[in-house]
């Protein structure tokens, strides 16, 4: 984290997102870097979402495709930002690279990606020119079929097997993990508050559990502490450990003086 935690965020950056244009994080990254000259670390996701919701409310109609594209886009942004917040483990492969090497590696991927993105644009032109063509698709008249397929060439059982999966009732989605998460977030907050109260500060690495999901909960709890003004989060370098420090509340005297 360059500035104080991203949740506080750098000053808002004017960012006009044409949602139809982006297809994924690479696309977004290339565009952000090339056109807007802005840094992903400075993009405020919450602002983008707020703007989009306003835009939706204004336009009055709900375009499912555009909205799902938006969700994908925001998820991509969040993924990019969270990689910067979480520790290196996420991208193990890049762990040992120095930042220059990592940058070169990313550049290679972006350059390669851009070729396909542009090739997709060229395909669109071909599609416009050719996709409307009408080909004849009429079965050959039986009279002209000298030797049609041997009788019983395919097993009828295959038809039954093809339909059977559709006849099976889909399983009820398992939502138990959602409940778990809600409970453990509260618990985790309590635990972190205790550590914070005792020690005054701690690092993410020192308190985070091993399990990925549990780590995420710990991270959420950190953000919660931060947004509640209970703690300040600091990070010396991107992908580095997070230092959590307790915030001393203003003396109660000030409040009663008003």
């Amino acid at each position: 984290m360059r500035a104080e935690a991203t949740a506080v965020a750098a000053p808002p950056v004017a960012l006009e997102l044409d949602l139809d244009v982006f297809d994924g994080p690479f696309d977004l990254l290339v565009t952000l870097i090339l056109k807007d000259e802005i840094d992903i670390w400075e993009v405020r996701v919450s602002r983008i979402i707020a703007e989009y919701v306003l835009k939706l409310a204004d336009s009055g109609d709900f375009d499912l495709d555009a909205t799902s594209q938006f969700v994908v886009l925001v998820a991509a942004l969040l993924e990019m930002k969270s990689r910067l917040l979480l520790e290196e483990e996420v991208e193990e492969e890049l762990e040992d690279l120095d930042p220059d090497e990592a940058a070169e590696r990313l550049l290679e991927r972006l350059v390669r990606y851009s070729q396909f993105k542009n090739a997709g644009g060229a395909l669109r032109l071909r599609w416009d020119a050719h996709s409307a063509r009408l080909y004849r698709s009429v079965p050959v008249p039986p009279a002209l079929l000298r030797r049609s397929a041997p009788s019983g060439a395919l097993p009828a059982q295959a038809l039954q097997e093809a339909l059977a999966p559709l006849l099976r009732e889909p399983p009820v989605p398992d939502t138990s993990h959602l409940a778990d998460l809600a409970v453990s977030l509260v618990k985790e907050l309590r635990r972190l508050r205790l550590i914070l109260g005792d020690a005054g500060q701690f690092t993410f690495a020192a308190v985070a559990p091993d399990d990925r999901l549990e780590r995420a909960v710990t991270f959420f709890a950190l953000l919660e502490l931060h947004s509640g003004g209970e703690a300040v989060l600091r990070q010396k370098r991107h992908l580095g450990d997070i230092l959590v420090t307790r915030v001393r509340r203003p003396a109660p005297v000030a409040a009663s003086a008003v």
């Binding site: 009408l134 004849r136 698709s137 009429v138 079965p139 050959v140 008249p141 039986p142 002209l144 079929l145 000298r146 030797r147 049609s148 397929a149 009788s151 019983g152 060439a153 395919l154 097993p155 009828a156 059982q157 295959a158 038809l159 039954q160 093809a162 339909l163 059977a164 559709l166 006849l167 099976r168 009732e169 889909p170």
Partner: protein
């Protein structure tokens, strides 16, 4: 050839069945006389031995057929044609049509949860699925079913001989039960 003759030629080329004069008039937005004139042009163009295909008048309509003296080559070609492999998507669509026939495109899509336009036309092209009239519902959608070629390919005497689905035997009444069950499951999958 003049423009209307060319448009009629294209229509006759693409149509899987003979076209009647009223159909041609409606499609081209022109009069009986204009269609007759254009047909006359086509008849000259496709007069005997000029082309490998010929215009033929059959039961109330006009259609292109393979010229008689070219049919041997065609048989040599089609005789060698093997039923190509059916992809899982095609097999699933074929199963839906086979068990639920007559069935509309929308119903097929509903049951499978995905658009089935390509799959149905691909099966139709292979002669495994055929149009069997239109439903008496708004929009009169085309009804699809299986035909003789389907039965032969799967070695069946009739669709009653399809392997039964779990507890369903394939009596007419039970087809509705299968349909209801498939639709309910599709609904749940979407939810």
């Amino acid at each position: 050839m003049h423009a209307l003759a060319r448009r009629l030629e294209a229509l006759l080329f693409i149509s899987p069945r003979p076209l009647t004069s009223p159909e041609m008039e409606a499609a081209c937005g022109c009069t009986t006389m204009e269609v007759d004139d254009a047909l006359a042009v086509l008849r000259v163009e496709y007069a005997a031995e000029r082309h490998g295909i010929a215009l033929r008048d059959v039961a109330g309509g006009v259609t292109f057929v393979v010229a008689d003296d070219c049919s041997e080559d065609v048989r040599r070609f089609t005789g060698a044609e093997r039923p190509d492999e059916l992809s899982p998507a095609l097999l699933e669509t074929l199963a839906v049509v086979a068990y639920l026939q007559p069935v509309t495109r929308a119903e097929t899509a509903e049951v499978r949860g995905v658009s089935s336009e390509w799959a149905l036309s691909s099966l139709e092209e292979r002669g495994l699925v055929e149009q069997q009239g239109r439903a008496e519902t708004p929009g009169a959608p085309i009804l699809y079913g299986t035909g003789a070629r389907f039965l032969k390919l799967f070695g069946l005497h009739s669709v009653q001989d399809l392997p039964p689905l779990e507890e369903f035997s394939l009596q007419a009444a039970e087809v509705d039960a299968i349909r209801a069950r498939l639709l309910a499951n599709a609904e749940r999958r979407r939810a």
